[in-house]
């Protein structure tokens, strides 16, 4: 008997409770701006903003209702004349760096930018050490 109850509970637990609204999406969630230049700006920005309700997706790649509402914010703000950087700043002020896929140089992200520079130095050093020894008779490569 207990086993049957356990099995039943397992079966019930496995079905996730889905909560979704049935409201129509915001006007600019699935509709483009009429001006192609502004739309291109908005699209580029949306691809670099993180959907907060999804697992590692940009708001440009998600069907989540909240991603739709964020797209609406982006498009309507672009239409109102805000620059993409202003909009990104507005969102970062609310959700922190997490919302932007484009890390900005700051106290917490500088190693990301130091790394390529450091790598360039290491790479240059390694190449010089390995290849530079017989430079005298070799000349320069392409």
């Amino acid at each position: 008997m207990i086993r049957a109850v356990v099995a039943l509970l397992l079966a019930l637990l496995a079905i996730p409770a889905l909560a979704q609204d049935s409201m129509p999406p915001a006007p600019y969630a699935y509709n483009q701006l009429d001006d192609p230049r502004l739309e291109a700006e908005a699209t580029a920005l949306m691809h670099t903003l993180r959907c907060l309700k999804c697992q590692s997706q940009s708001i440009a790649d998600s069907d989540a209702p909240m991603a739709g509402d964020m797209r609406h914010q982006v498009r309507s703000r672009i239409l109102a004349g805000e620059s993409p950087d202003q909009i990104r700043g507005w969102l970062i002020a609310r959700y922190g760096d997490y919302v932007s896929y484009e890390p900005e140089v700051s106290a917490t992200t500088w190693p990301l930018f130091a790394a390529p520079v450091l790598l360039l130095l290491i790479v240059g050093g390694v190449l010089l050490r390995r290849l530079g020894k017989r430079r005298s008779d070799a000349g320069d490569a392409a």
């Binding site: 609204d21 006007p27 969630a29 509402d69 969102l91 609310r94 959700y95 997490y98």
Partner: protein, 176 residues
Amino acid sequence: MRSRLFLWVPLALFAFFAGVAGYMLTQEKDEFVESTMIGQPLPDFALDPAFGGLPGAAKGDLVGGKPRLLNIWASWCTPCIAEAPQLEALQARGVEIVGIAIRDRPEDVANFLGRYGNPYARIGSDRISEVQLAIGSSGVPETFVIDAKGVIRYQHIGDIRPEHVAVLLEELEKAR
């Protein structure tokens, strides 16, 4: 000798990674995105009533006199059902609760309040998550403590369980 030391670099890097990863495995995975608006004044907004029974909500309704709770919720959200008794308990303790219904229909809001009780002083309808995004909320339900000057003082993410009632009351007291 220098080149010998160089050979240990991969191991050192790996050990560093293993340490970080091992530490992170012991940490509770935090899926919540916290608002960075704590300490900031509430942004300006004015929302229409969510249904016929209560007035809508604007920033002005949350400023002046005493601290209040701003509850972000929706009739289609299951955890919101779970927190309804706790909101009523808070209301019974004299807390003024302003609701914002996210992507909701008037008839659904009325239905929900009829079934699970109505602890709200007013409810604004946010059909496109405008205010939700403006205050840095990333889901429903969430509850914010707003002080008398209209500054956001505290954010509670997820449904309010019975043990959270005291916490919220304390935060309201602190915001006084």
